[in-house]
């Protein structure tokens, strides 16, 4: 499998994903000042990867939305994707559980592996994939049903429980882990849409963890929330890290700095830089990253 890609003004031939890795892993400490250089800066690999993405391209009919992105997502880490609006970070996130399949004009090429299994393989069932890779959306979107039914839905359709008491326990447990149990204990059978925005978002997180996924994707989960609700969600993300791998897309750089261990910066479909969160925010190596985090644009 031979691919040719244009990165900046160089044309590079990619024989396999390894070659791409070597290209990306530039010497640390080297600063990239060339704005036109769109080659990923930083170490894309990790020791214990949960998901491995190599040479991912996404097209919306003719528009090239994600350009040859490769990165690893480590087990039990929080990785955040930052970047200006329209840079493709949400699009890339939605590739990780194949939510882009619902858009008919969308086409994905490259490799995305979950535990060494290609999720775009023909024999992979998206139902199973999405049970393993849960998702929390930008706008809280509880089902217009009771709080209990919201949580119980996932376990029920996947046949994870057999008895009513098991289900009750699972619902309580999920709400507890989402830190919502105290607030909703007495109103389990009231509509989930009657909760406040922050509570709704935590309900959505509880709903996602009820089916015990391995990875949770969060698409700007706090953009519709006030600072107090945001703080609660961030606290929750920190706690969830023990058991889950979390990929979070955010507009807030402070949030990325607070919750994540690694950060990837996207710009117009390219992944410009990836690295430890501390390093990205204190010592960005690409001029574009630096401009963005210092607020020069975006």
């Amino acid at each position: 499998m031979s691919k040719t890609t244009t990165i900046g003004n160089q044309t590079i031939s990619l024989n396999d994903s390894i070659a791409r890795n070597e290209l990306d892993n530039q010497e640390s400490g080297v600063q990239v000042t060339d704005y036109d250089n769109r080659q990923t800066v930083g170490k894309i690999t990790v020791d214990k990867p949960k998901m491995v993405c190599r040479g991912v391209n996404v097209y919306y009919s003719q528009k090239h939305a994600i350009k040859n992105v490769s990165l690893d997502i480590g087990t039990n880490e929080v990785i955040s994707f930052i970047g200006p609006s329209g840079c493709g970070k949400s699009t890339f996130l939605r590739c990780l559980n194949r939510m882009n399949d619902t858009i008919t004009t969308c086409r994905v090429t490259g490799q995305i592996k979950l535990d060494n299994e290609d999720i775009y393989e023909k024999d992979i069932d998206v139902v199973q994939l999405r049970a393993r890779v849960g998702m929390v959306f930008q706008k809280p979107n509880p089902f217009p049903k009771s709080i209990y039914e919201n949580i119980a839905y996932g376990p029920r359709i996947h046949g994870m429980v057999n008895t009513k008491s098991e289900l009750d326990e699972l619902v309580r447990d999920s709400l507890e882990r989402a830190g919502l149990i105290k607030e909703v204990e007495k109103r389990m059978h009231e509509p989930g849409t009657g909760l406040s925005g922050g509570q709704q978002q935590r309900l959505c997180i509880a709903r996602a963890i009820a089916i015990n996924p391995e990875v949770i994707l969060m698409d700007e989960p706090c953009s519709a929330l006030d600072p107090i609700a945001t703080a609660k969600i961030e606290e929750l993300i920190d706690e969830l890290r023990e058991n889950y791998t979390i990929v979070i897309v955010t507009h807030s750089m402070q949030q990325a700095a607070r919750v994540s261990q690694r950060t990837a910066y996207f710009h117009l479909g390219d992944m410009i830089e990836i690295g430890d969160t501390d390093q990205i925010f204190t010592n960005p190596r690409h001029k574009l990253t630096e401009d963005y985090i210092t607020g020069r644009f975006g």
Partner: protein, 444 residues
Amino acid sequence: MNKIMLPASTPERPKSARRDIKTIVNASLARQHAAERRFRWYGLIAISLGLAFVLLMFGNIIGKGYRAFWQTYIQIPITFDLSIMDTSGSGKRDLQTIDGADYSVLVRSGLRKLFPKAEGKSQLRALYGLVSADSPYELKRKIQQTPNLIGVEKEIWLLASAQVDTLFKGNINRMLDESERSIKNDQIEWVDKLQAAGRIEEKFNIALFINGDSREPEQAGIRGALMGSLLTLLITFLLSFPIGVATAVYLEEFATKGRWTDFIEVNINNLAAVPSIVFGLLGLAVFINFFGLPRSSPLVGGLVLSLMTLPVIIIAGRAALASVPPSIRQAALGMGASKLQMVGHHVLPLAMPGMLTGSIIGMARALGESAPLLMIGMVAFIVDVPKNFFDPATVLPVQIYLWSDLPERAFVERTSAAIMILLAFMILMNGLAIILRKRFERRW
């Protein structure tokens, strides 16, 4: 000229301009308010015009039709004479022989007892014409119910003929010459005498609701048409609702958007606009001529109305599905629900109120439809109440059309009464649509 045109105080322009903006805005404000007031008036006028026409229509129909719910009856002393009843001459009270008796003799002798002076063939015929032609059968039914009436003399209320009914309700001009009205001078005299004796009276018209159609206006009822409408609508609903909902769900949720779906969509929208009589012709050609289904039957009527209602239900269903926010779909898919689970568990329940509303409005339209049914023979004069989907039947709007065509004054009244009943069903169905929408509406 130029000198005059030049502004006098050019340097002060910014100041005056600012003042100007205030006055200009104020002036335009007045204009805006005036436009708003005018618009409100137009709206009021339009609404009151519409309401006036509705009131006029209802007033006219109710004014013409409400008396059809009452019918004139005449009290006649009937002697259930055993010698007349017992045709076999055995002297036994045998029900079978009683069935064969000539009950018109009983009615006639009763009438003659009331007016002994009437004589001569034409005068007697006028006398016998006071009561409905159904009266002998009415007596027969009475005897069958209570056989111990035999041999007894009893005052019986019998249905008056349509002319007497019309006269009694004041719809015949007594000033006209005898030859110009449908009732004879003698008959008017008798009716007046009956009234003086308290032997003529209006009672609630049950016959209107329990009889089928008839050539005699006083006996004609809407039960046949009502049953026909019911059976036809049942077929229509059973066919068009499931097929319509399934089509809407498939087109909106499952079909890949492309040239074919666009083509189908355009065609469905076109079908909704096809004149209904065309569906009637289609039904005649396909269901009756090709498939050989029984003509005039509620089955064929229901099939034709299904064809007509389907596009309406599909369009309403698609609109209802499209109004379900995509976030709900994403939430379900993100949980690992399959597409069918997403639709079945979340999207369809949310869209159902809209779909039901659309369907009921479509059904109400089908209830009021007459043109396509004329084509498939549901316009025939049918006396019997249809019992199943294959019996010849007619429907309410067609019954109205049939009655409106008849010259008797009594049918004019009944036409209006039938319209009132049809309108009542329409209001009922639309009310149901509103209740369903309110009941199942959910916020998200």
